[in-house]
């Protein structure tokens, strides 16, 4: 009785454990549930979840930079772009049409890590001169970097494919893979399996594995000496330096680990989409990922993942589907006349809702932030620390 009570109490004290449990269960059962609910035609939804996983990876990486080390990065999409373009260059026919004259076809599994390393190197190169800057100046430098990188890719002519970008990238391959009813086939083992858009479940499974790995690594880093150094730098850089933390190295590590995660996600993105274009890496991507981290709860890995899930759901499922849903709703409650455009400027309810999506998105962001300024799932450690400070310092300070 008391043991059960203690178990229950410790579980309640650790929302992270609950969040991880729910996420593991959801990740395992999501494809099954979706396929059952849509009678086997839910492949699109499974693929959507795999795309969402890309944002989740980026949120985990940005959480290291912003949440752990307290460095505001407003150009995170730049590393995403670098990862994607690296993958596109080393794993497509594109190099054949450049002055190099010889196309590269590095296997996906290696190219993924090339993307990671190139992005991490870019992170070090940007971070080394700029991490001496304090506070918001770093944010502004990263903002500038985020604006520069996609434009350079767009302007670099033949090397990056210019405005149309690079298409027909290699897809991941495996020695073998299971197929089954979820792709409308009988159970079978397919040798020399190629990941294609006909089997998005494969991408989904791969994404779940990648996220699990990254979460495991980042969580270990967080609990290591380096993780404690990050927290020290975040809370008080001068005090951390005085306590013997090499602040520049520690910040540089956070910055490049964040960049590496983004590059990793970028390489996967390139492979999944089989296409890269500079249009997909604008400031809006950086801002969306930052909003995911802050919304979910800075400095907390499950928080960042939750934020990524919530925001991705709103942006890529709720808002795109809202016009049709509203149309159906209007018909259902007898206001079907709203569905047609009228000459006096009413464009029909679907069009009106579709135009309102920015407005709705803005309101949702403001609303959530006002209701929960500390995020949906804030870091418990940080909360404890701040509570401790508030108790220790006498009132009036």
């Amino acid at each position: 009785m008391s043991a059960a009570g203690a178990f229950f109490r410790t579980r309640m004290r650790s929302p992270n454990a609950i969040a991880y449990t729910i996420m593991i269960l959801a990740a395992l059962f999501y494809p099954v549930i979706v396929q059952f609910a849509t009678n086997g035609s839910g492949d699109y939804l499974v693929g959507l979840a795999a795309d969402g996983g890309i944002y989740m990876l980026m949120a985990i990486g940005l959480n290291v930079v912003v949440g752990f080390a307290g460095l505001l990065d407003l150009g995170y999409a730049a590393f995403f772009a670098i990862g994607s373009y690296t993958y596109a260059i080393v794993a497509s026919n594109h190099m054949g049409v450049t002055p190099l004259g010889h196309s590269l076809h590095v296997p996906f599994w290696i190219a993924l890590f090339i993307g990671l390393f190139v992005a991490a190197t870019a992170g070090v190169m940007l971070g080394a001169p700029t991490l001496r800057l304090r506070g918001d100046y770093l944010a502004i430098v990263t903002l500038g970097f985020g604006e520069i990188v996609p434009r350079v890719f767009r302007n670099a002519g033949v090397w990056t494919g210019g405005v149309p970008g690079i298409s027909a990238l290699d897809v991941p391959t495996l020695p073998g893979w299971f197929v089954g009813p979820w792709v409308n086939m009988d159970f079978a083992w397919v040798p020399n399996f190629r990941f294609t858009s006909a089997n998005l479940t494969a991408y989904y499974v791969l994404m779940v594995i990648l996220i699990t790995g990254v979460v495991f690594l980042v969580n270990n880093l967080y609990n290591s000496r380096l993780g404690r150094a990050w927290m020290a730098v975040r809370e008080d850089e001068t005090a951390a330096a005085a306590s013997g933390v090499n602040t520049v190295t520690v910040k540089l590590l956070a910055f490049s680990i964040g960049a590496a995660t983004s590059g990793f996600a970028g390489a996967f993105y390139g492979a999944k989409l089989s296409y890269v274009s500079s249009e997909n890496f604008g400031f809006i991507v950086s801002v969306t990922v930052l909003a995911m981290v802050v919304l979910g709860g800075m400095g907390n890995i499950p928080g960042a993942m939750l934020g990524a899930f919530v925001l991705y759901f709103i942006l890529f499922w709720l808002l795109p589907n809202a016009p049709t849903q509203m149309e159906n709703l209007a018909s259902a409650i007898g206001l079907g006349s709203l569905n047609t455009a009228t000459p006096n400027g009413w464009p029909g309810i679907a069009e009106e809702v579709s135009r309102s999506k920015y407005l709705i998105f803005g309101l949702i962001l403001v609303g959530i932030m006002l209701l929960r300024p500390q995020g949906l799932l804030p870091s418990q450690v940080r909360k404890q620390e701040l509570k401790h400070t508030a108790d220790a310092v006498p009132a009036g300070k």
């Binding site: 001496r132 918001d136 999506k357 407005l359 709705i360 803005g362 309101l363 962001l365 932030m369």
Partner: protein
């Protein structure tokens, strides 16, 4: 001076390497630019300079709002660029009330235009104060990034409102300004339009500088920016002062919106965001929190953009702007006119 420079620039081997590379890059770009300008001839140069100053004047007006808000509450107000576009949209909508339409022109437009400026500036100012009241003030003691996210949310909201209101496409903006070229001595011609824009921007900026420097509210603003708690202890109403900062910043942005419309004769719902980013760059360039710095930064960015557009490739202009931003921050983190402020 040299001693100080040496002390700050060549401290560690990494830093001196970075600085040497930086200086080399700047030198190469500068030599290239000067070469092209000399080849282009005098009259082309002054024409370009006129465009640059006009565009810079608009950037400066927007940058002032960023720098004032950042100076007082350390928030990058991402919604500011959209308040600027809102100024252009609103003025377009209320224009008929002042008897202005796309056929107006000549000296007769001066008085109605003045009214249009006042109404639009007041409207933008009230909107910005409301944004501060709803989205920033409740979060003043929240984690620092929370108001940044609501600022982005408000930016999306304003863009959404303008999108729903007038659609996503470019709206034509009437052209009241004279099309003539003004002849200066020595074959130098500058478009009259550019001169008018520069004059309006300068008048507004001088007004703002006098207001901040001379008035009681301006003094309160400076005090609040320096130390909010101490200012409060001295009996300054912090909330009112911050609201006033948002009010004035947005009024300037609203005026900038009208000038933008008059100068480019076209405006779209999503123009403001990118424009705001460049204006923010200008504010950082001049030294964020510093009012003359924002004005200087705005004009310099305008000139750089005009030179890049006029002598180099247009598609690289934004890259130059942001590269300059990074260079300034690496070599002179406090901007051109900024003071070294101790970490709070």
């Amino acid at each position: 001076m040299v001693q100080r420079l040496r002390g700050s620039v060549f401290t560690t081997p990494t830093a001196s390497l970075i600085n040497l590379v930086g200086i080399a890059v700047v030198a190469v770009v500068a030599v290239n630019a000067v070469q092209r300008i000399l080849q282009g001839g005098t009259s082309y140069f002054f024409q370009t300079l006129g465009f640059g100053l006009a565009e810079g004047g608009i950037f400066a007006l927007v940058a002032l709002g960023y720098t004032m808000v950042y100076g007082i509450i350390e928030l990058i107000n991402f919604a500011h660029g959209d308040v600027f576009t809102l100024g252009a949209f609103f003025s377009l909508a209320v224009m008929p009330l002042f008897g202005l339409n796309d056929k107006s022109g000549g000296v007769g437009v001066i008085l109605p235009l003045l009214g249009l400026f006042l109404v639009t500036m007041a409207f933008c100012a009230v909107v910005n104060v409301l944004i501060e009241r709803i989205a920033y003030r409740p979060l003043r003691h929240a984690p620092r990034l929370a108001p940044l996210i609501t600022a982005i949310g408000m930016s999306a909201f304003l863009e959404g409102v303008m999108f729903v209101w007038r659609g996503p496409f470019n709206l034509p903006y009437p052209d009241f300004l004279p099309e003539q070229q003004i002849q200066f001595g020595g074959g130098v011609t500058i478009a009259a339009k550019a001169v008018i824009v520069i004059v309006i921007a300068l008048v507004l900026m001088v007004g703002l500088t006098l207001f901040i420097g001379r008035s009681k509210l301006g003094k309160a603003m400076r005090a609040t920016a320096q130390d909010r708690d101490a200012a409060q202890l001295m009996g300054i109403d912090i909330n009112r002062t911050i609201a006033a900062t948002f009010f004035i910043g947005a009024a300037l942005a609203g005026a900038g919106g009208i000038i933008y419309g008059l100068y480019y004769n076209s405006v779209a719902a999503f123009d403001g965001f990118q424009y705001g980013l460049v204006a923010f760059t200008a504010a950082v360039f001049g030294g964020i929190g510093n009012i003359p710095g924002a004005a200087l930064g705005g004009f310099l960015i305008g000139i750089i953009i005009a030179i890049s557009d006029g002598y180099f490739t247009v598609s690289w202009t934004q890259i130059w702007v942001f590269a300059i931003l990074i260079f300034v921050l690496v070599f002179r983190p406090t901007g051109l006119l900024g003071m070294r402020v101790p970490e709070k």
